[in-house]
Symmetry: C2
Subunit: 182 residues, 2 copies
C-alpha cells in the first residue's frame, strides 16, 4: 500500500460520541491508517478497545489523544503531511482523489457537524464524500478505500493471534482451539 | 444507478445502538439505498432524523421498522431479492462484487457482533469487507459504493430545499437566503 494516513478525529468531547469514535478507530485500523489522534479527553475505554483488537487481530492503528486539534495540524504540516478535511461542503472526492493519491503523507481530519472555520482554512483540501449529511465513520472508510485503491481490503496485520478463514456460511477462525460454525 | 438495495439493520435493541443506527440510516440514504428496515423498537428520534434530512436535502431513503428480521428476509426473497449479509467471516467483497452486481435487487443485512446462525444460512451470500472487526456503518458505505460503482457519489435527491455548492474552503448552500462562509 502506497502512502501513509494519519487520522485526526476532531471534537470527541462527550459520552454521546463514544461509540462513534470507537467505530472511527476500528475503521481507521481495518482500512489501513497508521495512526488515529483523538481530540478530547483520554478515553480509557477507547484505549482498551483498540489495544484488545490490535492484540487479537494483529498490530494495526496506533491511538493517541490531543487536547486541541491545532498543534497537531501544525506539527504534521511541518512534517510534510498534506491536510485533507472531509466535509459535505467541500470539493467532490471523485474529482480530486487522483491528486490526493500523489500525496504520500496525509493527515485526514474527520469532524462532526460543527467544525471551526479555521480547520477549513488550514486544510490543503476540503473534500466532500457525497454532498449529503451522513457519517464520519463512512467518510473515513470511503476515503481510505479510495486512497489505497481497494488494496486495504486485503491488508495483513502482523502478530495476529486470530485469523479468519473466509467462509460461504458460518465462522472459521484460525488460532482458536475449536472451530465454531456459529 | 443500476440496481436496488434495501438495507435490513439487524438488532437495534438498545439505547446504546441509537447513534450507530442513525448513522446507518443516513449512510443508506446518502449512498443510494432505497429503503432501510430497522429491526427493533419503533424509534421516534430516528424517524424525526430521517424525516428531517429527507425534507431538507431531498427525498431519499424510506425508513421502516420490523419486530423480527426473519419475516422481512422471507418476504424479500419471495419478491426476488438476493440476500447479502455483511460479516467479517464471509467471502471477500472484492472477489464477489462482480457477481453481486448482476443481482438487480439486493436485501443487504447489516448486523452487529452477535448475529444468529440462521441469518448466515438464509443469506445468498455472506461477504466480508476486510477480515477485521470494524463498523456496520463502514461496511454499509463500502458495499453501496462498490455495488453502485461510485455513481452514488453524484446522486441527485429530488425536492431538496437545500443544495450544497462545493467549495474549496468554507460553506455555500443554495436555498439559504444568505450564503455563509462558515
Amino acid at each position: 500500500m502506497n502512502g501513509e494516513v494519519v487520522v485526526l478525529r476532531y471534537g470527541h468531547r462527550t459520552v454521546r460520541d463514544e461509540r462513534i469514535t470507537s467505530h472511527c478507530c476500528l475503521v481507521a485500523r481495518a482500512f489501513g491508517a497508521g495512526k488515529i489522534i483523538v481530540e478530547g479527553f483520554e478515553d480509557e475505554e477507547l484505549k482498551r478497545t483498540v489495544g484488545s483488537v490490535n492484540k487479537n487481530w494483529g498490530r494495526g492503528v496506533r491511538l493517541e489523544f490531543t487536547e486541541h486539534w491545532k498543534p497537531v495540524l501544525k506539527k504534521y504540516k511541518k512534517l510534510g503531511y498534506k491536510v485533507v478535511h472531509t466535509t459535505m461542503y467541500g470539493l467532490p472526492l471523485q474529482d480530486n482523489i487522483a491528486k490526493i493519491r500523489t500525496w504520500k503523507k496525509v493527515l485526514l481530519v474527520i469532524g462532526s457537524q460543527k467544525v471551526e472555520k479555521e480547520v477549513y482554512e488550514m486544510s490543503d483540501m476540503n473534500i466532500s464524500i457525497t454532498l449529503q449529511p451522513h457519517s464520519e465513520v463512512a467518510a473515513l472508510a470511503i476515503f481510505l478505500h479510495e486512497y489505497f485503491g481497494r488494496k486495504e481490503l486485503g491488508k495483513i496485520f502482523p502478530g495476529a493471534k486470530l485469523n479468519i478463514m473466509p467462509q460461504k456460511s458460518g465462522k472459521k477462525i484460525e488460532g482458536h482451539k475449536k472451530f465454531s460454525d456459529k
